[in-house]
């Protein structure tokens, strides 16, 4: 089983067994796609950004040491890619297309579905109103398998600071959500 951990697979990629990157891709593609999508990128851009993460993993595989969590390493890369994309997009005034808050989600039921849909719409709008850092920390906190220590690793801060940041971002989201709900 040890041979199949993310860390072991990435170390194999590092030693030239590039085929193993396919396994890592299959394992993490959905989560990475969700990360970019929930940060406000449209589906097509989110897919491109997922590709970029793996291109960068391939490019910088030599620098992978196997220390720390693989997921934290991957999300740190994803975070930088998202930042670079938005820097470039604002420089060239590229619009990111349809953001999640504008995407019409499929109705799941009738009245229940409509209410849920409305909440989702407001939640997406509230997320879009938060700062980039707040959005990131909230999207990361949604993944159960990510510990605060790893979130700290991704954000480049201590575990305690990560907890404070998630707490404050949640409060800000709640405030914004209520504001939008009243409007």
């Amino acid at each position: 089983m040890h041979d199949l951990t993310d860390k072991a697979l990435m170390l194999k990629v590092k030693s030239g067994d590039l085929d193993k990157l396919g396994l890592l891709y299959e394992r993490h593609k959905k989560r990475l796609f969700g990360f970019f999508y929930n940060l406000g990128n449209n589906p097509s851009i989110s897919e491109d950004l997922v590709q970029n993460v793996f291109v960068r993993m391939m490019k910088y595989r030599g620098s992978y040491t196997g220390e720390g969590s693989f997921t934290a390493w991957m999300f740190r890369m994803a975070r930088n890619i998202n930042y670079d994309h938005h820097q470039k997009a604002s420089k060239f005034r590229i619009t990111s297309g349809i953001a999640p808050e504008e995407v019409q989600m499929e109705a799941e039921g009738l009245s229940d579905g409509l209410e849920k849909e409305e909440d989702t719409r407001i939640l997406n709008r509230a997320m879009a109103k938060l700062s980039q850092n707040e959005r990131e920390v909230l999207v990361l906190s949604k993944y159960r398998e990510l510990k605060f220590r790893e979130i700290g690793e991704i954000l480049g801060c201590s575990e305690g600071a990560a907890k404070v940041r998630v707490h404050r971002a949640l409060k800000e989201l709640k405030r914004t959500f209520l504001e939008l709900e009243i409007v």
Binding site: G16, L18, N38, E47, F54, T120, K142
Partner: protein
């Protein structure tokens, strides 16, 4: 407890990262401070809401692009390894030996030029793929052949041509494409690709069996030409069946009759 301590402990509590003892202490503190209790409840609700954030499924195109670029990268890597290996092999050779080698090479080239009998050099194909690349390519071919876009399916057939020796799965996928693909160009490309393996009985059989499935005149003629070239007697019967079709193009009809005669 100050504000920051509460912020930290609240997150620990909500994520279930607290020990039982600390959890009891925290719950006691919350019970004594209604303001913090309300804040904790609000935090919990918001956290639950964040967890419900959804995302659509990524498209199949994302997989195609990824596996295609990974396959290319693996190919490049193998080629690079061969280059490095070759240079390492040459490394211990002395300078004088290099010069001597160069002189011999020039001499060989001059003699070769003089003796040139106008025959072109035999093409040498450097085979760099190994099992891994072949397996990646197989995945890529199968994924591409299932794509809704005809261009991508054509790309899939062209990837299939890169196999040194395609395995049974790829052959089956190509035959399936030949029989069922909606696009004539893709079906034509599949025939072309399958001609690389006509020495295999299952391919010849598959090609013969596909004759009744073809409605396009260009495909019927291409298959007729191929069967004549292969002198495949088993194809006579399906061609005769095809000739009974009323809608058959007259040019195709003539071609099939000629083909049957040539095969018999």
């Amino acid at each position: 407890m100050d504000k920051e301590q509460f912020e930290i402990q609240a997150m620990e509590y909500l994520s279930g990262a607290m020990t039982d003892e600390r959890k009891l202490d925290f719950e006691k503190f919350i019970g004594e401070h209604p303001n913090f209790k309300i804040e904790l409840q609000e935090l919990q609700d918001t956290l639950e809401m964040v967890k419900t954030m959804d995302a659509p499924e990524p498209s199949a195109k994302m997989d195609t692009v990824f596996f295609s670029s990974l396959s290319e990268e693996i190919g490049r890597q193998k080629a690079k390894q061969i280059d490095i290996g070759f240079l390492r092999y040459l490394w211990p050779v002395q300078k004088s030996q290099w010069i001597l080698g160069l002189v011999v090479l020039c001499l060989g080239l001059a003699i070769g030029y003089l003796l040139n009998d106008q025959k072109g050099p035999e093409p040498i194909e450097v085979v760099t793929q190994d099992d891994e690349t072949e397996s990646m390519r197989q995945k890529l071919v199968l994924t591409l052949l299932e794509q809704p876009s005809a261009n991508q399916r054509l790309q899939g057939v062209s990837e299939a041509n890169k196999f040194e020796e395609a395995d049974e799965i790829v052959i089956r996928a190509l035959l399936q494409t030949l029989n069922n693909d909606s696009n004539v160009n893709v079906r034509l490309a599949a025939i072309e690709s399958l001609t690389n393996y006509v020495d295999r009985p299952e391919v010849r059989q598959g090609l013969v069996q596909s004759i009744p499935n073809q409605e396009s005149p260009i495909l019927q003629i291409t298959l007729a030409n191929l069967m004549v070239a292969l002198q495949e007697k088993a194809s006579v019967e399906p061609f005769k069946e095809l000739l009974k079709e009323k809608k058959l193009d007259t040019t195709v009809k003539k071609k099939l009759q000629n083909s049957i005669e040539s095969i018999i």
